[in-house]
Symmetry: D2
Subunit: 341 residues, 4 copies
C-alpha cells in the first residue's frame, strides 16, 4: 500500500441529525457534512460511538454511510463503522461498504460480552481473512472488549487487510507499546486516537491522527491543533490542547454522551433533533445549562455570539473549570472502571 | 395482578442449537426445550445473555422466541428477552411477544454506552408507559448500564406493567436493599437472580427465584436446590449449592461465556453446533479439556458415564477445585471491574 | 487443636475512645469493653480496620491490646490485629501478644503496595513458620492485597499455626470456594466474615462467625442475628438481617469510615472523642445529621430515646432507605474503583 | 518564593541498600547516592514508594533521610517522604526534616482507608496550616486515596507552604486539568510526574519535572530525556522515551514492585541486598531471568556488558517487547482493580 494512502489526520466521527419523528434527517446531515469538509477535516467517520451506531438498525447504518459517501463525493476519504451482530453480518456490511467505494471500515471489538484476547483475535482473524475492504481495528475498552497489544501485533502481522487501529483508551504508554510492537513489521500501519483530551501528546509520541469528536463541533480548532502539533510548534499547540480539554470535558462530562456534542453542534447552526436515548426532565434542564456554558466557550474563539447576559470572565473562568473538573473526576472514574489502560 | 401469577421459581435462560451453517437448528432446539420442561424447570427464558441474544439479528430473536413458545404449548410460562437497538424497536418487539402470548418480557438496561441512573430511568419509563406486556427489568452490571436501587424503586412505584427484576450482580446486600425499597409499595413485585453461585443464599434473604444457566445443564439439580432451599432444608440445600458452585465455576471460567455451558449441554445429549463467536485453535483445545472435567462432574451425579480413563478422586478433586479457583480469581476480578455491587 | 477451641461466633472489632488531646482514653475504652462483654459478644478484636489500627504508632497498638486483655480478664477470647511494617516487626508483635495470653492474632495482607498471590503467600509463609501464636489471615481486598483461594489453601495446608481467615469481601461464592478448598484437609479451620450486610447468608453457607462492626454498636442485635441464624430460624433471622443492613449502610456510607460507627457508639452512651483523621466543617455537619438518623434507627429497637422532634414513620422510612441506597451506590462505586488514572 | 527555587527536573526516588541482616546498609547507600549525583540527577527523594517507605519503622525513615542529606552535602536538593501514621506524627516528621535542612517534604494522601475528597482536603489542610517546611502533595491513586483536581486547587489556593504536587497517575488530561486549575493563582506551583512511561509527553503539556524510578537505574538516560524534551528536540526525545518505556515496563511488570528496580541497580554495580518483602522460590527464579533481560537492555546503551551467551537481536527484540506487553496488560489490569469482591 502506498504511504500516500495511509490513514492520517483528523477523521470526524460525525453525529447524525434527526427529524421530528426520530428518523434520520438526511438534508440536515448532508448540510453538516459539507460544513465539516469545508472547515478542513481530513476524513469522515460514520457509525462511530459519537454517531450512536448501536441505536440504529442495520439498515439505517447502511443508509447513513450511503448518504455521507454521496455527499462527500470523494472530497475526503470515509472510514465507516461496520460492526454488526456477528462475524457473518459484519462481513456482509464490509461488502456493502466496499461496493460504496469508501476508504476503509472500522470494526469495534465485540461488546456486551467481555471477551478475552484469544476470542478477540479469533473474531478479527476471521474478518481479516475474508474482508473485501481495508479494516481499522477499534479499541474502546470503556465500552467494548479490549484489544491488547499482543493481539494488535498478531493481527497486524498476519492480515494485510488490517491496516490501522483506532484507540480510544487515551493511555499514552499503551500507544507507545502498540507502535513499538507493530511498526517493525508493518511500517505503514496507522495509529489513530479517539481521545481528544490527549491528542497533542499522542501525536508527539507517534500517532498518525485522530477520530476526534471535538472536530465535529470545532473542526477549525481540532485541525489547527493537528497542524501545530505535527509541525512541532509546541507552545502554540499546548495552548490549543488546553482549550480542547476544557471544551471536551464540558461536552463529555456534563451530559450523557453524546448529548453534549449534539448540543454544541446545534450552537454551530444545525438542527440536530432529539436523540434516540430518552432524557429525563432533569437531563433536559441540564442540557439547557450546558448550552450556555458551551456558547461561552465557543464565543471566546469567535465561533458564536456570547449568550444574552454575557459570560463570566477572569477568575470566574477558573471556577467554571474547577466545577467541570469535579464532574470529570467522578465521571472519568466511573467510565474507566472497566478500562484496560 | 393475582399473587398466583407472580414470577417465581427457576426460569431457564436456554441456549440455542446451531446447524452446520451457523443457523438456528430448530429441531434440536425444540427437543432441548421438551427435555428441560420434562425435568421440571418452572419457565423458559429465550434471548437472555446465556442465549447469546446480541449475536442474532432482530428477525432471528423473534423466530427463536416463536419456536420456544410453540414448543412449550403453555406447559410453562415464557419470559422473553426483548431488548433491541432503541426504545422504538424494543416496543415493537414487546408488541410482537404480546401477540405470541408469552408471560412477560425481560429488558436489559442499555449497553455499550454506560448510562447513568437518570438515563436508565428515562429509558425504562418510556417502555413502562407504552408496553402492552408485563416487563421484567434486567440488571447485569457486568455487561450493561447498572440499574441502581433508587431507580428500581422509582420504576416499580410508577409503572404497574413493570412487575419484576432479574438481577445478575450476585450481590446479596444489593438484593436486600432492592427488596427493602420496593416491597412496601409493590408487595407482588418479583425478584429473580441470575447468579447461580449464590442462588441458595439469595432465596433465603427473600428472592423469588432465578434465571439460572445451570438449570439448562442440570435442570434436575437446580430445581432440587430451589425446592430444598424454599422448604428450609438448609443442610441439604447447602451441599447442593456447593456442587452448583463447582459446576458453575467450571463452565463459566474455563471457557469464554457461554461456550462452557454449550459444552455441558452437549454432554447431556444435544447437538448444539458451533457458536457464533469464532474460537481460536487454543480455545477449541481448552474446550475439549473442559468437556472431560464436566463429564466427571456430571458423572458424580449419575447424569452421564465417566469419561474413558476415569476421573480423579480424593485429593485430586481438591487440586482440580483449586485450579479452577485460581482461574476464578482472575476472571471474576476481570469481569467485576465494571461492576456496580 | 480441640474443636472446642475453634474461633466461632461474633468478635467485636472494637473502636477506641480518645481523650481531649487525641490520646487513647483508657478509662472510657475499658468501660466500653465491659459493656460489650455484658451484652454477649463472643470475643473482642482490637487493632482491626474499625479500630483504626493504621492511625496508631506501634507502641499504641500494643498498649491498646494490653488494656483490652486486662479488662477482659479471660471472660471472652481476644483476637488482636498484629500487622506491622514488615515481617520482622509483625513477628515481634506476635511474640508480644503471645506473652499477653491472647487467643490469636489477625494479620492483614500487605497493603499500600498491591501484591500478587506469590508475594502474599511468601509473606504469610514466613509468618506461619515463625509465629509463637495462632494466626488468622485477614482478607480485605478493598484496602489491602487480596488473599485468593489457592493462597488460602496453600497456607492452610502448610502451616498449622494458621487457623482461620477473616474475610471482608462480602462475596458469598468466594466464601463457598474457600471453605470447599480448605476444609477437606483442615476441618477445624475457621471462616469469619467481616461484612455485616451479608452475615446471615454467610453463616448459612458455612461460615463460623464474624468480626462485625455493628456488634460494637448494637451487640444485642448482632448476637441475636447469629443465634437465630445458626438455629435455622430463617424468617426471624431475615428480618434482623434487613435491620442490620439498614443500620450498617447508614453508618458506613453516610460518613467516612469508621466515623459513622463512632457516632453510633456515642449514642449508646460513650464519650468516644474526636477521631484522628481530621474532618472538614461540612463533614462535621454531616455527622450531626447522621446522629439523628442513627438515633431514630436505634430508638426503633428501644436502645435510645427518639430525638427531640421525633422520627419519620411509614413511607418516610422508605424514603430514608432509598436515600441511603443512593449514597450506597455512589460510595461503593467510589470505594471499589482503582483510582483516578 | 523565587522562581529559581521551584522544584523542577528529575528527582530520584532512591532505593535503599540492605545488609545481610536486613538492616539499612549505610555505606552502600551512600556510595549509590554519590553515583546518582555524579550522573546528573537534579535531586533526591528518599522515603518514596520506590524506596519502600512503608516497610520501615518511623525511626528508620528518619535515619535514611539523615544519611542521604549528609551524603548529598547540599550538592542537590532533597525531597523527603514524610507520611506517618496520622497528622500529628506526620507533623513531627516535618519538623525533623526541617531541622535537617532539606528542601521540602512529600506527603502521600492517607492510604489503607480510601478517603473521599473532603477528608483528603482536611488532612492536608491541617498539615498546610502547621508545617514548618514546604510540602509537596503526593497523588498515587493506585496505592492511596486519590487527590482530585478541585482538592489540589483548594489546597494550592489556601496554603502557601504547599508548593507542588507529585502525580503518579500517568494520566495526561488529568495533568492538564490540574495545571489549568492551579496556575492562574499559583504560577510558581510545581507539577512533577512519577510515571516514567509518559515523562516526555507530560513535560510537553506543562509538567516541571519528575520523580522517576528509572533515574535510579539509568540516571544518564532519564536526564537526557528531560534535557531533549525541554529543549523541544522531539524526534530525539521520542526515541529515548520508547527506550524508557521498554525498560520501565520490564522492571515494573516482571517482578513485584520495586524488586525489578533493585535487580537493575545491582547490575549497575551496587550490593542492594534482599528486600524486606519475602520472595517465593518461583519469584527468585523469575528475578534471575529478569536480570538477564535487563542486562541486555542496559548493554544496548553500553552501561553494562552483554550477559554470557549474548542477547537476542532483530525480530527477537520485538518478541521480547511483545512478551512484556502481554505481562503489562495482565499486571496493569491486576494493579488497577479494586480487589476481589
Amino acid at each position: 500500500m502506498p504511504a500516500a494512502n495511509r490513514l492520517t489526520g483528523i477523521y470526524t466521527p460525525n453525529l447524525v441529525a434527526y427529524d421530528d419523528r426520530g428518523n434520520v434527517n438526511e438534508a440536515e446531515t448532508r448540510r453538516y457534512i459539507d460544513w465539516l469538509i469545508e472547515r478542513g477535516v481530513h476524513g469522515l467517520y460514520p457509525n462511530g460511538s459519537t454517531g450512536e451506531f448501536t441505536r440504529f438498525t442495520p439498515e439505517e447504518r447502511r443508509r447513513i454511510t450511503t448518504i455521507i459517501a454521496e455527499q462527500a463525493r470523494g472530497r475526503v476519504p470515509i472510514l465507516a463503522g461496520a460492526a454488526e451482530a456477528n462475524v457473518r453480518e459484519t462481513l456482509k456490511a464490509c461488502e456493502y461498504y466496499a461496493d460504496l467505494g469508501i476508504r476503509a471500515v472500522a470494526i469495534v471489538a465485540p461488546f456486551y460480552y467481555k471477551l478475552g484476547p484469544e476470542s478477540v483475535y479469533a473474531y478479527f482473524a476471521e474478518i481479516g481473512r475474508n474482508t473485501p475492504i481495508d479494516v481499522t481495528l477499534y479499541n474502546i475498552p470503556l465500552f467494548a472488549s479490549p484489544i491488547d497489544v499482543p493481539t494488535v501485533q498478531r493481527l497486524a502481522d498476519n492480515f494485510e487487510r488490517i491496516i490501522a487501529i483506532k484507540d480510544s483508551s487515551g493511555d499514552i504508554p499503551h500507544m507507545i507499546r502498540m507502535i513499538d510492537a507493530v511498526r517493525p513489521n508493518r511500517p505503514e500501519f496507522s495509529f489513530l486516537t479517539g481521545w481528544d483530551a490527549a491528542l497533542m501528546p499522542l501525536l508527539l509520541v507517534g500517532a498518525d491522527g485522530g477520530t476526534n469528536a471535538t472536530s465535529g463541533v470545532v473542526p477549525e480548532i481540532t485541525r489547527k491543533l493537528y497542524d501545530l502539533t505535527t509541525s512541532y510548534q509546541i507552545d502554540e499547540a499546548r495552548k490549543i490542547q488546553y482549550d480542547i480539554v476544557r471544551l471536551f470535558d464540558t461536552m463529555i462530562y456534563s451530559a450523557e454522551f453524546p448529548e453534549g456534542f449534539r448540543a454544541a453542534v446545534s450552537l454551530r447552526g444545525f438542527q440536530m433533533g432529539r436523540g434516540r436515548q430518552p432524557l429525563s426532565d432533569k437531563q433536559q434542564t441540564d442540557i439547557t445549562l450546558l448550552r450556555r456554558t458551551l456558547q461561552c466557550l465557543l464565543s471566546e474563539h469567535g465561533f458564536v455570539d456570547e449568550p444574552v447576559g454575557g459570560c463570566p470572565v477572569g477568575s470566574a473562568d477558573v471556577t467554571s473549570t474547577t466545577e467541570v473538573a469535579s464532574i470529570v473526576q467522578t465521571v472519568v472514574a466511573e467510565l474507566q472502571k472497566p478500562g484496560m489502560i
